[in-house]
Amino acid sequence: MTTLLEKGRRGESLADYEIVDMHAHLFSGCVPWGQDPADSLVRAMDQSGVAVSVVSSLAYGGFRMEACNELTYRAMRRHPDRLLGYVYVWPGAPQAVEAEVQRRLAQGFVGLKMLVLMGYDYVYPGYAPAFEIAHERRLPVLLHCYGGQAGLDDVPVLAKRYPGVRFLLAHAGAQQVEHHIRIAHEVEHAYLELCTSMATYRAVETLFEHVPLERIVWGADDLPLNMSHQLGRVLGAQIPEEAKLQILSGNARRLLGLERG
């Protein structure tokens, strides 16, 4: 039987595995002028046969929340079988957060996305209406969380307030992997997402050894990163074949309530 690594080495399609990418973005800066970033993302998915990407947009600068989410919504409608949407939340206008989240969830968005780089910790009160909704509806919330940097230590605090939230911690293992492992042990509903341009050596293996397998998911961070580069980190990891499939597909599908096939 051909292994996932052998398929990757040969550049063979992985479409049969129904891979789900839990971390994608729409940017205008990463594609040639005039091209649709959603089309470019789907093109990158097609290279290896990634089935679904869950996207958020920061295309117009993080402070233009509604415009960013409108771009995501257009992408979801343009590629309904391939792209799902996170509602991007900017807490700088807290009075707008609740209405924006409710409106976008009604449009079919499947989770929320927050970025500590925008200058607000995740415990900032402006985020609270969004977390309340995510808690009530048991939604995934994707948080930019590098080990050793701001944001990650907010998660145990938020988990006590909002136990229904599924916290997706992006860039797990990129650096200071022990920080992510500690938070995963503290927070029952913490899921570790793997993307990093650095492709940190043995990060996937280390997380596999220390975190329950069902709480590791794959994301590519494409755009701006390279989908097939990020995919290779799991294809080449020295972990069991079945574990790779759980990380690339099964765990994300359970989280999103997607049926295979």
Binding site: G8, Q47, Y201, P224, H229, R233
Partner: protein, 258 residues
Amino acid sequence: MADGATSDPLVELFDAQAGFGGGRPGQPWVPSAEELLDHMARLSIARALVRTDFEEMDSDPMYSNRLLYATCAQHPSLVPCPTVLPQGHGDVPSEEEQVEEALDRGSGAVALRPGVDGWSPAEWCAGRLLHVLEQQRIPVLCRHSVLGFEAVADIAQRHPQLPIIMFHLGYRTQRMLVSLMQAFPNVYLAVGSPYSVHLGLESMAGRVGASRLLFGTGFPYAEPTASVTMLTYAELSEGDKHCIGAGNLDRLIQGIRR
């Protein structure tokens, strides 16, 4: 590509961005040649151009070069890429002697580390070294964090026959990288991690040409498979994949005047 299409035979891979034998502060692991060779076997990587890496604690490059040469002599798939530097106050052999030894030992390139080794790439400091390397057409590897765009542009302009291979660049550098490579035809890019750029190989092949791109893994910093699948799944012709995978580095090495 998707839909069951295959790339057969396998794209030959010659890793231009790999190393072993170096240490990092506070980290007990010193990556070994055997670990690299294990990954090469697992991923069908035929050869690797190897430096001393990690480089953060490598305070004696001449000693490290001796270890590198000795290891490469035992493993034909490893091609040495020793560190060279200006003689300065005389604690290392002359520029000519360093280059002569590199060639005698079968090196495929040399590494320039001005920050780590305490020298300036300006002509008044490195001119003699760069002149010798240019005369021999020896490719030089430059980590972006220790030799930035301005310094590379300056060297490329002053030494137009010197092949310069930049490595360890991320997606945020793409705009300047393309401009630099369009301006200076003797600048090349090793695409090992952290070079993870949305459709990056396709974009670079279109803007500067596939002949300027060299496959690399980024080991020991990076998991080597990432860069492998970035190439195998790229929307490039089989010919371009073979050039990037091994052909371009082979061509540069064959161009050395030994």
